[in-house]
Symmetry: C2
Amino acid sequence: MTISKAACIGGGVIGAGWVARLLLNGIDVAIYDPDPEAKRKVGEVMKGARRAYKKMLPNGLPKEGRLTFARTIADAVADADFIQESVPERLDLKHRVLAEIDLHAPANSIVGSSTSGIKPTDMQVAMKKHPERLVVGHPFNPVYLLPLVEIVGGEQTFPEAIEVAKEIYASIGMKPVVIRKEIEAFVGDRLLEAAWREALWLVKDGICSVEELDDIMRYSFGIRWAQMGMFQVYRVAGGEAGMRHFMAQFGPCLKWPWTKLMDVPEFNDELVDLIATQSDEQSGKWSIRELEKIRDDNLVAIMEALSRQNKGRGWGAGELYNGYTKQLSGLAAKKAPALKSKAQKSAATAKAAKPVKAVKGKKR
Amino acid sequence: MTISKAACIGGGVIGAGWVARLLLNGIDVAIYDPDPEAKRKVGEVMKGARRAYKKMLPNGLPKEGRLTFARTIADAVADADFIQESVPERLDLKHRVLAEIDLHAPANSIVGSSTSGIKPTDMQVAMKKHPERLVVGHPFNPVYLLPLVEIVGGEQTFPEAIEVAKEIYASIGMKPVVIRKEIEAFVGDRLLEAAWREALWLVKDGICSVEELDDIMRYSFGIRWAQMGMFQVYRVAGGEAGMRHFMAQFGPCLKWPWTKLMDVPEFNDELVDLIATQSDEQSGKWSIRELEKIRDDNLVAIMEALSRQNKGRGWGAGELYNGYTKQLSGLAAKKAPALKSKAQKSAATAKAAKPVKAVKGKKR
């Protein structure tokens, strides 16, 4: 299934990232966010996303979908077949928002929640009409570039809703992974949380600075994990003897008193100060906007590099990137189907400068 | 300081990786490994490393250093100014090997240990002559490609030895990060251990398969961490409000009952079987050799992609990659300094097919 009209509830970093991905796929989006700054903030994210997509698609972007700012949740979701909720991580707020969505959205629409930790079962109790259509669709920042979306169903979620959600997310270039059992924080954030907790200890105890820790990640296992995950990397490391050998060798290490993870470092002002100060030393020379551009350029470059691997079929995120850029290029070609000769091209360019109504194809 | 002659004690995956990096930098290496299969195993790693370096240096590799297999540790280290120990992770074995190295190596040589967990203070007690020259130089697999080396000094290590070790590792294209306080497992493996432990729980509890977990890593934060580390990524995610805001928002999550890390999953046959079986399902279609090639190609492609970022200066591992490939190209050019015209080129190629004694420059 592909999306005809989407609604996004919440326009923070994640919500605006969804808006950007959808619009750049040519899909119309209605957004609801009560923040008076929402328009400006979404505009900033769109600017960054557009810039990144121009790197991905040097021959031109598809015609963007139309963005409307709705005045109520009801207005936003009224004619949407896909709704993505990205409001702050408070269960009471999620309940209020999901109840409102449920009341006004078409019965056969799919509702995805961007929550990074709350179980869908705990959220869908607020949906009195159609709780069966709620899935967690947990993305990673920046949403317009990173492909992963963790899909989690709750007790009331229909298996069919999960299947449709998979298709919907895949249709906008994402990699859906369905989590088999519902747990808080799902999989990605569990791993991130484990590493983050240990990182806080290492900095707090003065073993390393935040910059040193970042360097340790990005000059070693970061590059490994960008292309294979942990298990496949270790399989290779096991060498000729394979995974069983590796497990036998590495397994017992878990018993060593290495990590401090059984304990949580006290989250006080001192720790926040230490980390914020070291972070300024590391990155203060760039503004956040500059860092965003650097990050996005790097992400595109890595995915593009991986897209040329594996005899041109692409590997991991690069394989997906091949399919995604091909799909978007197809959409872009539809926008101006007559681009054949140089003369036609320049004529088309001149024409494209004026507002044009998009040719609506079946596949969005 | 650069290396004139190196010795490697131990020729497993890590030891052979060191041998490969050194030889490909044109440095002569003597290796000691009692395994009768050592020659074949080192040869396999060399073959892989050579292949990867050809991707990095399409215009030709430097003349390789000479590899000799020594019959004793004493023979291997006798005239080495840099010795890297990579024997299995047992303290008694480390003691025996380091005592032997210490007895026979030139007094002003630097001794690096590849240990991924043992404190240098606990190892250098076995060195009765010059314990002050021991540092941990902890690399990451594959050593010939991944740049990170964690340098850790023990109580008896001279600060000067750490400085020289930094120069030595940097001279062969690595990124040395000095760990400020000596702890077991240092920094990289603490983070890896934390994530690994959580990963084992997630698979054991049936939340996801090893393939799903790997996909979750490589389609999301793996790509992020390949270019920025955890703290810099979160700084950007904090958006306009910055690091302090991010910490305030994300910090309290640590109190949530998310991770299972306080506890260690029982490491029994059942868990080993589960993971080995799922790993076969994920990767069984490739041999380990094929996976190694895929991994190496991906790593080179990612570093190469990052080397073109940041207005051509390169970013992170890509910045280092620029310097490293330039250095190696310089060495390669020295090998055949007269490569100017096509005619000369083909003459030189013909000549290069015969064994030539390398022109020894100051900079290796």
